[in-house]
Symmetry: C2
Amino acid sequence: MNNFVFHNPTKIIFGKGTISEIGKEIKNVAIKKVLLLYGGGSIKKNGVYDTVVESLKDNGIEWVEVSGVVPNPVLSKVHEGVEIAKEENVGAILAVGGGSVIDSGKAIAAGFYYDGDIWDAYIEKYTITKALPLFVVLTLSATGSEMNGNSVITNEKTKQKFAVRGAVYPTVSIIDPSAQFSLPKAQVVYGAVDIITHVLENYFDHTKDTEIQDRISESLVRTVMNNTEKILQNPTDYEARAQFAWCGTLALNGLTAAGKSGGDWASHRIEHSLSALYGIAHGAGLAIISPAWMKYVYKEYLEKFVRFAEKIFGIIEGNDEEKVLKGIESLKEWYKKIGAPVSLKDANIPKEDIEKIVENVCMLKLPLGNIKKLYKDDIREILKIAAD
Amino acid sequence: MNNFVFHNPTKIIFGKGTISEIGKEIKNVAIKKVLLLYGGGSIKKNGVYDTVVESLKDNGIEWVEVSGVVPNPVLSKVHEGVEIAKEENVGAILAVGGGSVIDSGKAIAAGFYYDGDIWDAYIEKYTITKALPLFVVLTLSATGSEMNGNSVITNEKTKQKFAVRGAVYPTVSIIDPSAQFSLPKAQVVYGAVDIITHVLENYFDHTKDTEIQDRISESLVRTVMNNTEKILQNPTDYEARAQFAWCGTLALNGLTAAGKSGGDWASHRIEHSLSALYGIAHGAGLAIISPAWMKYVYKEYLEKFVRFAEKIFGIIEGNDEEKVLKGIESLKEWYKKIGAPVSLKDANIPKEDIEKIVENVCMLKLPLGNIKKLYKDDIREILKIAAD
């Protein structure tokens, strides 16, 4: 195990009926005005918006709204938010939504105190040192952004989808699993893929002697799988929603990464080009890329991929290589079963585009990943495996 | 799953060679003088003391010392610490040691701001609202006190061993597993029992639909067992020490309790009378009481005890009751194997004392526990099961 620092100060308020506590939490730290940030308006249909603004009113908190944050959230909306936050001199950002809204909220919170373009933080020209407090009401479990300091933003001009990590932790995140009852099925599916891939990115890490981290990771993947199936059968199964939501938070709050070497993250970084270029859901892109990446790299760390096949999919027959391939196939089969695309073809991305995708990925500093250091040719091969 | 709040702000600095960072961490929050609290002086033999004071000097931090904190730490030492902290007007407490030192540090940190006797907090006459910052250098993994707000103190006049919970979280805790290389074997053994029992206290909880919490709990118990055996074979096995230490922290930092109903804790509360009356190690007392408690209560929650037997000890044969009894026996056998006492007799506590122990336990507000509400007669029965 490596040395590490674990410091996650976010206060999580979890459970049924907790959204109405948001106003009190903001009032407790003497904030009088917030920027209320949200997405396409689903929160106005499912009652979350009403609960939030009622709670703000009850606690005498003013707010100004910025809405229209889109999946794969874009820099222009961040700029709009920063401008309004400054004009209105808000004391905090209140992000009500999923990862896109929260990630945008983090960018706005940091942009408030930065004189330049906050995109500088994403291209490593600026290190975030100060941000407004960020409050979160989570309505979609997937990115884990509600309990970490990460933010992924797409610069729609440059077609770059870049991340900052460990920068802005929410002060308080409210997670009411019942707010997710009305989510479209696809969002549950892509959320599940995203959560599982977060766990696997840290699981496939060369650090040895990480028994507890690995066992917790395996526990998270199995629990997400079990409860995704329950949710797809019965979208209002509160207990399944609660397990799913809490796993989504734990999957990327530092717990599975502690003591490891940073994980791999090549699948995520390659995927970012798919969602940047084709606007597909991040989880859809991961279901396509992650198993292909596994097939391409498993020989570099056979023992860990054997463990993956054995512990997560219970595969005990065959030699090591057979086990691994069966394990990867099992993951793909499960993704298919829940309705995720598992090839570029499934997502209507033509094979002929591979070179264009490769070029986009290669705007990142290469190599990508750790299990195998990936250069341009490697990325092309992974995309070929993912083709159909 | 129940609603819950998870908020653990402690910063953990984990790994080899990290103790020398303590001075910088204290300086970072502009504290100029600390009360350095420690136990019987083992830290002077293993080099930890020297590393700590050198780091304090390097960072220009003054200190005043209070030493002689004993296992099952006593109130009189807390009083001494509070008095000196006030006289010297320190800005923080620096606890260097195991759970006894940390728990005493928490009491002193809170006592600094309380005009009455801080024991009032332990007998629920005062709720802690303010405390000095507490810094920790951990030298013995067992209680998890390095990453929670709990403190257990023995009032040697009244023979009461009482706890406060969720009150004073360390600001920073440094965990260097190699500082534990020189621990006596017994402290490893009792640490293991303590950690495992912490997990089981929350595991045996009536809340349903806690799949991820249960899987994480099972992972912690298995990992502690595996690594305890490695440490007993090779006390300087860094990787085993690291797994053991991190599991000890995770076992009682809120993770396994989140969404449950508070766990059972009857074993702990009964045990406190053994260590209060006989001065035995807390872990020794738990190895005696916890399996006896399990035998007495398992019928109240058969399915969970079956899961315990199956998932932790891999017991798949027999009917439910047979599995459970075999599971409990396996735990006892493992405790015996590593050298813990598993009966009052093993700890030289005469059967004739049972009534005296019962009377001591019954100074607590009854009933104890949740799986089965325990009254005086129940406690007597558990002690009889534990007798030999």
